[in-house]
């Protein structure tokens, strides 16, 4: 063995604790709810060549984005940085993902030796552009989406770049919040410098850099082991986005083809929709993130998420398609395309590893923002994410009301929302019968209803999975579709999956997420489990009969075993449509 397993573990722990501390620092200091409460951010330490050595919690979908961002930054500043410099970047066509995500880099120097970079990417509340929150799905070119920042120095040898600060401050709707949150990122990068300097002092630069290589090799070995467990061959799956945010009901296909050859994997996204007019285009770096996430999820080891993991994986997509757009394609709402790539990846893997993956979950977080004026005339920008459900898997129930595993973020506490924003939350509950029926039931959807009690504002929302609900596996049924409703006070009108519109005092929004897909034939589900779900109001008596063939008698609730057997026999004879995977 070329390395010392003890030292490998020690240095792995130490670097892991530095990057985790970076995330904690942002979470503790930041102003915005999206950083503090939902924790839409990630940290990393990259070596001097830009290779990611460790990724901090918290947002898994940022996993693959750091290397491309590093490349973007280094293209400008390789060999040109000094201690105390801080560089920021957000432009998707220069290494970023979408404009609200600001990457920040700080070189870590040990004396005059450049050891690497502390990097933090965090989602900001607003970066300007035509719609509050800067995340609208219905923009058509990036110039509408906000301030584009190429790699630029925010600090030069510790001295703030006032020009850049003033430029950012003037271009965003909530400058206090955005500038405060940027300071939180700065503090986190400083933590990286301190923590890595301590490690260098302890182990020496040469030893530390040797173990950077060892850590990359370590994760590479685990990635190769994971790929080797997938039988050689090609596996394809196509899933769909409902629309591009501009043209309703025009499906946008996302196609993945996995080519497994020994311990190497190529994921080809050819066949995915061409670049679209709306803002759901996703940079290739984010598409790679989604692919890495899916593979990382079936890996059995907890080896660090670093560039080594990515070595045996090649991700390709033709230029000019949905997941590798040309400028000036809009991409603020690209998150939903990443979620769909993951769903398609799992759909493809289900063909060979059905027991490792799960049926599709809700299809990604629904995010919305309300920007406008409260009753006192003060400008308020509020945004949050609504989640979610997990699909069922082999001998695994789906999970009701839970974060998407790829975007592990928190909900916003209702009492906090009502104290800070002109919003009253009227309902936040699980939705009965929304989990895809199966031997193992898909997770229930979540419903959130809120009323605007300010003066006037712009409401922007991004959702999906209405026309293409989350697929089931192995005979399991799909989860229930999502929906959006807006009310003037009396009537509820259905609104598209993605929209931007004005709202005024008293108007209300109701969003229902999609439910998770089921696994296995629902007629094989243990009737006791169906009864328990009925008791809990998670499945209705009617659905117990129509979906599961389980007859339940009311008052008091009990199982009619004979009735169930008769009903199930009848349903097995009848012509029930065969349900397969999304492909």
């Amino acid at each position: 063995m070329a390395h010392d397993p003890v030292r490998l573990e020690l240095i792995k722990n130490a670097v892991g604790s530095v990057v985790d501390e970076m995330v904690l620092t942002v979470v503790r200091i930041a102003y915005s709810s999206i950083m503090k409460d939902t924790m839409d951010l990630s940290s990393a330490f990259c070596d001097r060549d830009g290779r990611m050595i460790a990724q901090g919690l918290s947002l898994p979908l940022h996993l693959g984005s750091f290397p491309d961002a590093m490349d973007g930054m280094l293209a400008e500043f390789r060999g040109k940085l000094a201690p105390g410099d801080v560089v920021i970047l957000n432009d998707p066509y220069l290494g970023g993902m979408h404009l609200p995500d600001i990457f920040m880099f700080r070189p870590v120097f040990i004396g005059d030796h450049l050891l690497g970079y502390g990097v933090v990417v965090a989602h900001h509340n607003d970066i300007g552009g035509r719609v509050p929150g800067s995340s609208a799905a219905d923009s058509t070119e990036i110039f509408q989406e906000g301030l584009r920042i190429p790699p630029l120095k925010l600090y030069e040898r510790g001295v703030p770049n006032e020009t850049l600060f003033r430029m950012i401050g003037l271009n965003v709707r909530v400058p206090d919040v955005v500038l405060g949150d940027l300071q939180a990122q700065v503090a986190a990068c400083r933590i990286a410098e301190r923590g890595m300097s301590e490690l260098a002092a302890k182990y020496g630069i040469a030893e530390l850099e040797h173990y950077f290589n060892e850590l990359l090799d370590y994760s590479e070995r685990e990635a190769r082991r994971t790929i080797r467990a997938i039988p050689d061959g090609s596996y394809t799956c196509t899933d769909y986005l409902d629309d591009d945010g501009i043209t309703p009901d025009q499906p946008v296909p996302v196609k993945v083809s996995l080519h497994v050859n020994g311990d190497e994997l190529t994921v080809d996204l050819t066949g995915t929709s061409p670049q679209v007019k709306g803002a759901i285009n996703s940079t290739l770096s984010f598409a790679k993130s989604a692919v890495y996430f899916a593979l990382r999820s079936i890996m059995e080891s907890d080896a660090p998420s670093n560039s080594g993991f990515m070595r045996p994986i090649r991700v390709t997509a033709p230029l000019g398609c949905l997941v590798n757009p040309r400028p000036p394609g809009a991409c603020a709402a690209r998150g939903v395309s990443g979620f769909r790539i993951i769903d398609a990846m799992f759909g493809a893997l289900a063909q060979v590893l059905p027991e490792r993956v799960r049926a599709a979950g809700e299809g990604g977080t629904t995010s919305y923002s309300i920007g406008g004026y409260d009753a006192a005339g003060r400008y308020v920008l509020f945004r949050e994410a609504i989640m979610g459900a997990w699909g069922a898997g082999y001998r695994r129930e789906g999970i009701d009301g839970v974060a998407n595993p790829a975007a592990n973020i928190s909900n916003a506490p209702i009492e906090q929302v009502e104290n800070q924003a002109p919003i009253v939350v009227e309902r936040y509950e699980l939705v009965p019968d929304s989990g895809g029926p199966g031997t193992w039931r898909g997770g229930l959807a979540v419903e959130r209803q809120l009323r605007f009690v300010g003066e006037r504002a712009t409401l922007q929302l991004r959702s999906d999975r209405r026309n293409h609900p989350p697929y089931g596996l192995a005979g399991g049924r799909p989860g229930a579709p999502s929906c959006n409703y807006v009310s003037d006070g009396e009537r509820w009108d259905v609104w598209p999956t993605k929209f931007t519109r004005p709202i005024r005092r008293g108007q209300a929004l109701r969003h229902v997420t999609a439910g998770g897909g089921g696994y296995g034939d629902p007629l094989e589900r243990d009737p006791e489990r169906v009864l328990a779900d009925v008791r809990d109001g998670k499945v209705t008596i009617e659905a117990a009969a129509s979906e599961y063939g389980v007859k339940i008698l009311p008052e008091p609730l009990q199982l009619d075993r004979a009735g169930t057997e008769r009903l199930r026999a009848e349903m097995r004879r009848g012509a029930r449509p065969a349900i397969g995977t999304a492909a």
């Binding site: 010392d4 490998l8 999820s297 009301g401 839970v402 595993p405 209702i414 008791r535």
Partner: protein
């Protein structure tokens, strides 16, 4: 109540999963201890056994016990094993799933096998109630008593034993909760009722709901446990007050504990930290990091300027494989003042393995007490930290539990050789040293998560190490953290039980006000404090303590306007003045800067929560001497070979007793052998006995 004329014969009992530790402060002023096996079927049995044996051996009568203090894991176990009450929850209509939805976030990334812990109240027993209070505390939908009737019928039909009530914004206006509480208490005699406005009148609906539900879930069980214990103590003639340790480090009466059982969850670890804080104070060390290493986990906490650092919330039953605070959502959240203890799955029984990628891992899987480490010869072949320590010579085959626990070194050697040394191409000793070192690094991570993450540098602290395995690893862990001084108190294996004798009675109360300090009406805030004070004084009086012995500390949670995390700072007095608020703001900013390295951009502050802490001194917080341990006074002139790794290699090392140190300091390498632990003094460290009977290790190189 206080010691006074009657001879102070006091008892502290700490029930753990394997052993029940009993510490006695005897009539002659000496401390004594007993370790007896726990009796999970009826935990009070072990207590009574220990008491009876002690009284018989010492020829004292049980009726001379002046005070009985107790730490218990009964509540924690009830949650872990899902053996609590059949509980129901009443929630605002539209929000019955707040409990199950939690904060949505999952504790692990990239894990498709994760399962959400099942809610302590199933959905069928969560009842929506038509009512609504808004964020200003105004009633928007009035609660109609008649609407509760059908719920009542269901609660009866379902034979519910305990009911939690949590309505939105009840911290602002508790009228509806109180109305529902009155109704339930009148109509459901014998059913425990927990109202969120009584358990936790603070903002954040999930945190408040979860805390109230945990309270409801364990209430009936805690009540019957404490009543049974009370009865059994009476049977042996003990009529002394029964005091219970809370997770905040203060004692409370059994009666209060029955009303607020959520406060006594995780009381054992708290007692050890309290003892460490007292010790540090006596020895003149204001800043201390505690290291409490047991069989399965290691716990760390911080004492700063003599004060124990507290956290505002805790998750019961979350796995301890990762120490980071980012990991949330794996257990049952309770939001109460709790000693900030960070825990990692690295204890004596933690199993070492080489993973497929080629890294040496230690824990979180543990061999526990059964089968235990390989050297226990009870069927486990995997090497544990204890096995490694035995191979290295830190532990001797006859050194565990005063030689009463026989271990087989050959089995430890075999396990380390076969599972680690051979596959990794290491010598046996280097493999064992690797296990020891990786275990240390896991502990370092636990300590960092309570220190560095708060902006503190561990190097500024003194370490106090206890628990059976703590003193074996203390110096090594201290070196990693740059700590130069380590204290090992007498009887480190029963240190938590000892802490019970030294704790104060302590109560906390809090109320969310959420108001900008610029718009503050001083009279209203004073009224909030007056109400809190009245509640707490009633509790103190009910417990039988004199009001004159009470110390009151008002605190406020402040934050910058728009931020959502608060810092608790002292408020000068119960009289709220512009100056007092300014001082609090300054204290907040100073602490903010200490933690985050800068002050906020704004000078606008929000007062989020008012807090009051009352403490009652019990008059026995001073030190006392332990009676000598027969088993460890006999060591004379012993030496053994011990491996210290790397360049230090194998060294001939003297083995001493604590008493032998009294004759004079010595330099490492050395081993101090005690009844319930072994202290490892590596080369480069000096060791001496201080004036308080503690072993003091100091780094010299």
């Amino acid at each position: 109540m206080s010691g006074g004329a009657a001879a102070p014969f006091r008892v502290g009992v700490d029930i753990g999963g394997t052993f029940t530790d009993v510490v006695f402060l005897r009539p002659d002023g000496l401390l004594d201890k007993r370790k007896v096996p726990s009796t999970p079927a009826d935990y009070s049995q072990a207590i009574i056994d220990g008491m009876r044996a002690f009284c018989r051996e010492c020829g004292v009568s049980a009726d001379r016990v002046a005070e009985f203090t107790h730490a218990t894991t009964v509540a924690t176990n009830a949650i872990l094993e899902r053996k609590g009450a059949r509980a129901a929850l009443l929630a605002t209509e539209g929000f019955r799933d707040v409990l199950e939805l939690r904060r949505i976030r999952i504790p692990l990334s990239y894990n498709l096998d994760w399962e959400k812990p099942a809610p302590l109240v199933e959905r069928a027993l969560r009842f929506p109630v038509k009512e609504r209070v808004n964020a200003n505390g105004e009633i928007v939908i009035a609660l109609d008593r008649a609407a509760l009737e059908p719920i009542l019928a269901q609660l009866q039909a379902e034979r519910v034993q305990s009911v939690a009530v949590c309505f939105l914004h009840s911290y602002r206006n508790p009228a509806h909760e109180k109305m529902a509480g009155k109704f339930l208490r009148e109509r459901l005699p014998g059913v425990a009722v927990s109202l969120s406005c009584e358990v936790l009148p603070e903002m954040l609906e999930f945190e408040r709901t979860s805390t109230t539900v945990v309270n409801a879930y364990v209430a009936p069980l805690i009540t019957s446990y404490l009543e049974a214990l009370r009865a059994r103590l009476s049977e042996c003639g003990i009529r002394a007050p029964l005091l219970v340790m809370q997770s905040n480090g203060g004692l409370t009466s059994a009666v209060s504990a029955m009303k607020r059982p959520v406060t006594i969850i995780e009381s054992g670890p708290a007692a050890g930290v309290v003892a460490a804080a007292r010790l540090a104070c006596e020895c003149g060390y204001p800043n201390v990091i505690t290291l409490d290493m047991g069989g399965t986990t290691t716990k760390a906490s911080i004492i700063e300027r003599g004060k124990i650092l507290r956290a505002t919330e805790y998750e019961v039953g979350s796995p301890v494989s990762v120490s980071s605070r980012l990991v949330r959502g794996s257990g049952y959240l309770i939001r109460i003042p709790v000693i900030d203890v960070s825990e990692v799955g690295a204890g004596g029984g933690s199993i070492a393995r080489l993973d497929a990628g080629g890294a040496l891992r230690v824990g979180p899987r543990s061999a526990g007490a059964l089968p235990g480490p390989a050297c226990y010869a009870q069927g486990n072949d995997d090497p544990t930290v204890t096995d490694a320590n035995l191979v290295l010579g830190y532990l001797a085959a006859d050194s565990l539990a005063g030689g009463s626990l026989k271990v087989n070194r050959a089995l430890a050697v075999k396990a380390v050789q076969a599972r680690i040394a051979t596959p990794a191409g290491f010598t046996l000793l280097d493999a064992a040293f690797g296990i020891h070192t990786v275990a240390n690094s896991n502990m370092v991570r636990a300590i960092k998560s309570v220190s560095v993450e708060r902006g503190r540098d561990p190097a500024d602290f003194v370490m106090v190490a206890f628990g059976g395995a703590g003193p074996v690893h203390a110096a090594g862990v201290a070196e990693e953290l740059g700590i130069g001084k380590v204290l090992i108190p007498p009887a480190p294996g029963v240190f938590s039980a000892f802490g019970l004798l030294r704790a104060q009675v302590e109560h906390h109360a809090a109320h969310t006000v959420l108001v900008s300090t610029a718009d503050l009406r001083y009279g209203e805030v004073e009224q909030v404090f007056a109400d809190l004070r009245r509640d707490l004084m009633t509790r103190i009086r009910d417990e039988g303590f004199a009001e004159s012995a009470v110390q009151i500390v008002p605190l406020v949670d402040l934050r910058y306007r728009g931020q959502s995390s608060e810092i608790t700072v002292p408020l000068g007095s119960l009289r709220v003045t512009a100056q007092a608020i300014r001082d609090a703001e300054e204290a907040f900013e100073a602490e903010f800067e200490r933690t985050y390295g800068h002050r906020g951009e704004t000078k606008e502050f929000e007062l989020v929560t008012c807090r009051l802490v009352v403490t009652v001194a019990r008059g026995i917080e001073h030190g006392a001497n332990w009676i000598a341990d027969a088993a460890v006074t006999q060591i004379r002139g012993a030496e053994r070979d011990i491996y210290f790794g790397g360049e230090r290699g194998m060294l001939r090392t003297k083995v001493l007793s604590r008493l032998a140190l009294a004759a004079g300091a010595c330099r490492g390498p050395a081993i101090i052998q005690e009844y319930d632990t072994t202290v490892v003094v590596p080369p480069g460290w000096a060791v001496a006995l201080d004036g308080h009977g503690n072993i003091l290790m100091e780094r010299r190189t």
